[in-house]
């Protein structure tokens, strides 16, 4: 508790406070502009944090994370176009309400639900992350290796579309992490094709910026003539009444807990949390027929859950170094860039960073509520900015971001190459989330497996003889087999 209060004092000093404010504001604006995602913004901001103190850098990025997930609500409600993938479910009820002449109320419900979702998940973050980290410090290499593999299978199995494509995406990310000096083999380079620049491996940032930002830019340029439907905006009903609080309390808390839980599961992001909470709210509602036509419960469930995944996803990141979502994978990259080892020892070695992150998460939620309720009208105007003015400057930021890491143009070419590759992956419905998580987790998985084998003189059997690794393997197999079993069952029913 003392460490947490110290973290708060630290985050309330002028520089971190202003960075959280800046991050949250930029995140909301970015989230509100269609085509700019949280992952894209954070990947682009990462190079700007090189010269910052690690705690300040993470405060900025976490502010941006919270802001971006929340900002998507505005576009989803006023334009029927989710600003971020996490706000997809909000479009179903937010837009009909806005078209019905109640945009302020739809946004008000969404903003408040987002705030409550953020607070509930923050409480879990404070209560769960330290005990979980204690537990994870007892993990041996095989426990860690099987946990990482389970995370990979989990994200592939729940990613939208085909599971085979989800697995392919994760495996591709792992393969991309392979070139470069092999640390376990005494600095021997592998898969470099004698290209000197590949000795250091493919950089995290060029790959991230390419896959998330450049590929999105290409898609946006292709669809640049896409005209969006818009509704008129008024702030009437932006604050919830006591009756609203009473009516929505249970829905809000339930959806927040669902969002937090989904966030904790490795690799699953805000969009899945939002879908599960929305479906649960619909199933438990007295008026399920209203869902999809402007249901207040629908907006509350979707927004409470997607914001709750932020705090939830930070739990495995802080406690075990396992990303709870794509943005968390980027945050792991941020920790590594600042020479901080993510994982169970983070609490022991860098408690000030951990508590700065936790405090920034709460502060960003409070700021998000204040910024969105006070200036949602102004933000809503920004989202109608023609994309022709927005996309080219982002492309310049991508080039700077990739170049700035090592002052190498090779990284810029890598970024452009992965941008094109990412675009074609998306066009083939191959999800990009598993790719990034595979890229971040592959070196951890490989080093843990090899150090485990070193300890056991090449014996693989602890993977199935030790209880935790065996449990992780069994869960992974179930996750792999379950979708195929369901498909087979459906096919049998149809016969």
């Amino acid at each position: 508790m003392e460490a947490l209060s110290q973290g708060f004092f630290q985050i309330l000093t002028p520089v971190p406070f202003l960075l959280v404010l800046l991050g949250t504001t930029l995140g909301i604006f970015g989230g509100a502009i269609p085509g700019i995602t949280g992952a894209m913004m954070i990947a682009l901001t990462l190079p700007l944090t090189f010269n910052m103190v690690p705690g300040n850098a993470l405060a900025l990025l976490i502010g941006m994370y919270v802001g971006a997930i929340s900002g998507g609500l505005i576009t989803a409600t006023l334009m029927r176009m989710p600003g971020t993938p996490a706000a997809v479910m909000t479009t179903f009820d937010g837009y009909p309400m806005a078209r019905d002449g109640r945009p302020g109320r739809a946004l008000g419900l969404g903003i408040t639900a987002s705030f409550v979702g953020g607070l509930v998940s923050w409480v879990f973050l404070v209560l769960v992350s330290e005990p979980l980290s204690d537990l994870a410090t007892r993990f041996g290499p095989f426990e860690y290796f099987t946990l990482v593999m389970m995370a990979m299978v989990l994200i592939a199995s729940v990613s939208q579309g085909s599971m085979v494509k989800g697995l392919l995406s994760g495996a591709l990310g792992m393969l991309v992490a392979m070139p470069g000096v092999d640390p376990a083999a005494g600095g021997f380079p592998r898969i470099t094709w004698d290209i000197m620049y590949l000795n250091g491996g493919l950089g995290l940032l060029p790959v991230l910026i390419g896959v998330f930002a450049v590929s999105q830019l290409i898609a946006d340029v292709v669809d640049i003539e896409h005209k969006v439907e818009r509704t008129k905006f008024s702030t009437k009903g932006i604050f919830m009444s006591f009756k609203d609080w009473k009516d929505q309390a249970w829905n809000m808390i339930r959806s927040s807990v669902i969002g937090t839980w989904i966030g904790i599961l490795p690799g699953i992001g805000a969009n899945i949390g939002s879908i599960v909470a929305y479906t649960t709210a619909k199933n438990m509602s007295k008026t399920p027929e209203k869902f999809g036509t402007g249901s207040e419960e629908g907006i509350v469930a979707s927004e409470a859950a997607n914001n709750a995944t932020v705090g939830g996803a930070l739990i495995p990141l802080i406690a075990m170094g396992i990303p709870g979502s794509v943005i968390d994978a980027i945050l792991i990259g941020a920790l590594m860039i600042h020479a901080i080892q993510p994982g169970p020892t983070l609490f022991l070695n860098n408690p000030e960073i951990v508590y700065a992150m936790i405090s920034a998460c709460l502060l960003a939620n409070i700021m998000m509520y204040g910024i969105m309720t006070s200036s949602v009208g102004k933000i809503s105007k920004l989202m109608f900015t023609p994309r022709a003015y927005v996309l080219p400057p982002i492309l310049v930021f991508c080039v700077i971001g990739a170049f700035a890491i090592n002052n190498l143009f090779f990284d810029v070419w890598v970024m452009l190459g992965f941008g094109i590759f990412g675009y074609f992956l998306e066009r083939s419905n191959v999800p990009l989330g598993p790719f990034v998580i595979g890229f971040v987790l592959a070196p951890i998985a490989e080093s843990k497996l090899r150090s485990g084998l070193m300890m056991t003189a090449g014996d693989f059997s602890p993977i199935i003889t030790r209880p935790l690794p065996a449990a992780f393997v069994v869960i992974s197999i179930i996750l792999l087999v379950w979708p195929f079993y369901q498909e087979w069952k459906r096919g049998k029913k149809n016969l």
Binding site: I224, K227, P393, L395, V399, I400, F403, A404, L449
Partner: protein, 189 residues
């Protein structure tokens, strides 16, 4: 399966398999580990084999979809195409993306060769791309505006003026902010 998706899948999977084969060839002669049995090679090789396996599944599915599609009646195909055309909400501009990527390649290439400094080149690059994306009509209107000084062309020429403003602010502004505040060494030319 959507037939266009099947065709895209085939192209992409063949490319990925080719990359995996290159990885396998490159990693085949890696020495075994000194302290543990795996060494550097087996992990990338296992991943490459896994990817080839997954790609093969997707390829088989895509080929089955193509074969089924080819067996369809011509009239059915026409019906499908007709429906797709009716439901299209906007005209995609893939060639615009190609032009933007080519210009980006040129931009990075010029920066690499040091022919021009970051600020000025970024200014020109942004102006060019924005004007290209908003359409050439605004450039013609701008031309008419500066030759005739007739204010009725101002509205149509506005995108060019906005593009110029964004280009100058972003080009020189970024150069200042990144070099003076974030201490990033941008190419000076």
């Amino acid at each position: 399966m959507n037939i266009a998706l099947a065709k895209r899948d085939i192209g992409l999977m063949i490319f990925i398999i080719a990359v995996c084969v290159a990885v396998l060839v490159e990693s085949w002669d890696l020495p075994p580990g000194s302290f543990e049995p795996l060494g550097s090679g087996p992990v990338p090789q296992a991943i490459a084999f896994l990817i080839i396996g997954l790609c093969s599944i997707i390829l088989v599915r895509a080929f089955i979809a193509l074969i089924r599609h080819n067996g369809m009646q011509k009239s059915e195909e026409e019906n499908i195409i007709g429906t797709e055309e009716k439901t299209a909400e906007f005209r995609p501009r893939p060639w615009s993306a190609v032009v933007v990527l080519l210009l980006s390649g040129l931009y990075v290439g010029i920066l690499y060769l040091g022919i021009m400094g970051f600020g000025l080149l970024t200014c020109l690059f942004l102006f060019g791309i924005i004007v290209f994306l908003v359409g050439m009509e605004s450039v013609y209107a701008f031309g008419r505006l500066i030759t005739t000084f007739d204010r009725k062309h101002l509205a149509a020429a506005r995108p060019v003026l906005i593009a110029a403003a964004i280009a100058v602010i972003m080009g020189f502004g970024c150069e200042f902010v990144f070099t003076e505040i974030f201490f990033i060494d941008l190419p000076t030319g």
